[in-house]
Symmetry: C2
Subunit: 320 residues, 2 copies
């Protein structure tokens, strides 16, 4: 993993994993590599490049190991891989991922539907993965993050009790993860709820053990939630280029928050992301070309940057 | 004007004015009336129902006086009309508007393009309108709001100096408006800039003289900006049902912030708007039927409410 002392906010691109696993098209390996390389060249420091799941279940991820190996050759890039279980973690470690993330759904109904595992079974996998990681030499040991998914409500169960989310975050830490994250898998979160839950989880696991949130824009609140998270001191925000994938509903109801709009917001606010927004906007063309017919989202790519926009803070310049 | 002691945030619907004047279709008068009535019945307390401009220029607004007279018959509804000049104000007063709003573009280039008037000329109109209003009996005197438009940047001029916005807000107050508003006409604003400008303008004209902002979602930051405004103590937010109109760019780059998404956010945060969100979502069908082929925006209408959503705060219930 890389240190990022020169940026304020780490934008963690999840499109190659969350985006590509949610659409029907299978992106060719070469296009995935071009996407990852171009986005890293635009200044993105962390990319969740794949998920280590059986190709039978998710053919979109059949090239996971090759993608990790390729991404590892890009200087300065933290290569993140999602894994559903111990077996996936073994494969991710073997391929060379810098960091491994594992989802634990607060809704047990969703956990059983998604990973075919109860909470106890998922925690057992985490414990085994943590043991495996501890057996590795310190310099070759990937980081391990546990993400509490459906943390703000579930499409199957409805409301999820906050004490359940807090308890699962604690159990993930006890099982050996380095840090926890909160995922609004269903796009149910609102700014007030998000703030409260960040505070509650931090009170349980420690302030510095929760630094990232994964937000969706399903009801249009994605960037408002991102702002609320920033104000709570969250420093890592997941997003997906073109809001790719994660669209369980009608067109317009996108999934992940859109990287382009998020970076525009952060950049305009004068926050340092390390990302060149004009280069970032140009990466979208790779998706357009490689995924014909797939819906892409985002407002900034359509509208363009404001006239006279200055990188590093439109507001700052307008104040002159 | 109505008092609203039973709500926290006043959602001011601007679709019948800002929405309808920005699209090519002309909505039949009967449909406008049905829309206004249905939205008032859903609990919306204030609607900007029209603009008093020559029908030659904006045939969409040819029935402005009839619409105001009709809207005045709806109990509890504050009827707002936009006017570009003294003549428009005379017509709005005659028709019976509760409140008159006049835009003053911070970008003088935009002011000349929009109203064909310099700053000095617009201020002169405001002064004459204020004099006219003072000549009316107190009980029949509409309120007067001056909106600083393109306050966050202009598509023609680019960055707009903040001192210019502050100065124009002061001049509007001196010319006799009751209050000022800030309009992000171009969708350029970001949360940091918005907060700073709200503070600067309030420092000049008084805290209670700036209570409303008019936001666009052109770059996807609309609700993040709305959240920032709320946190600064703004209590009136303009929005447009279905994000209707105001789309100078490609599809997807909507104009005004979407009433449905805004109300969902406020309602989910536990803020009282007086609006029944399910009834509000149903009003959209009137637009679908009356404006065939026009693009409507919004994520909540597509995705629907969360499973088990409880009005008055999803987060509150989820905390149980």
């Amino acid at each position: 993993m890389q240190e990022h002392d020169d940026i304020d906010i780490l934008v963690s691109e999840v499109g190659p994993r969350d985006g590509l696993q949610s659409i029907k098209s299978i992106m060719p390996t070469a296009a995935k590599k071009a996407w990852i390389a171009a986005q890293a060249a635009a200044g993105v420091r962390e990319i969740e490049v794949c998920s280590f799941v059986p190709a039978k279940l998710l053919p979109q991820m059949a090239d996971a190991a090759e993608i990790v190996r390729y991404a590892r050759t890009i200087p300065g890039l933290t290569v993140l891989a999602l894994v559903p279980n111990f077996k996936g973690a073994q494969n991710a470690i073997e391929a060379g991922a810098h960091k491994i993330a594992l989802p634990l759904s607060a809704s047990e109904t969703h956990s059983k539907a998604n990973l075919r595992k109860t909470h106890d079974e998922v925690i057992d996998e985490v414990r085994r993965i943590a043991e495996l990681l501890r057996s590795l030499p310190a310099g070759e040991r990937p980081g391990l993050e546990g993400n509490v998914a459906t943390a703000f409500g579930c499409t199957l169960e409805g409301p999820v009790p906050e004490r359940k989310v807090v308890e699962l975050a604690r159990r993930l830490m006890e099982a050996g993860v380095d840090e926890v994250g909160l995922s609004d898998t269903t796009g149910y979160a609102n700014p007030t709820q998000l703030r409260r839950l960040i505070k509650l989880v931090r009170a349980e696991v420690g302030h510095d053990r929760l630094s990232s949130v994964h937000l969706h824009n399903t009801r249009g609140l994605g960037l408002a939630n991102a702002l609320a998270a920033l104000e709570e001191g969250i420093t890592t925000l997941d997003s997906s280029l073109g809001g790719l994938g994660g669209c369980p509903y009608a067109p317009g109801a996108s999934g992940n928050i859109v990287t382009e709009d998020l970076v525009f917001m952060l950049d305009a606010m004068g926050l340092r992301t390390g990302i060149d927004i004009e280069k970032l906007l140009a990466v979208r063309q790779i998706l357009v070309d490689a995924l014909p017919g797939e819906a892409l989202y985002g407002f900034t790519p359509e509208a363009g940057l404001p006239k006279g926009y200055a990188r590093g803070g439109w507001g700052v310049r307008a104040a002159a």
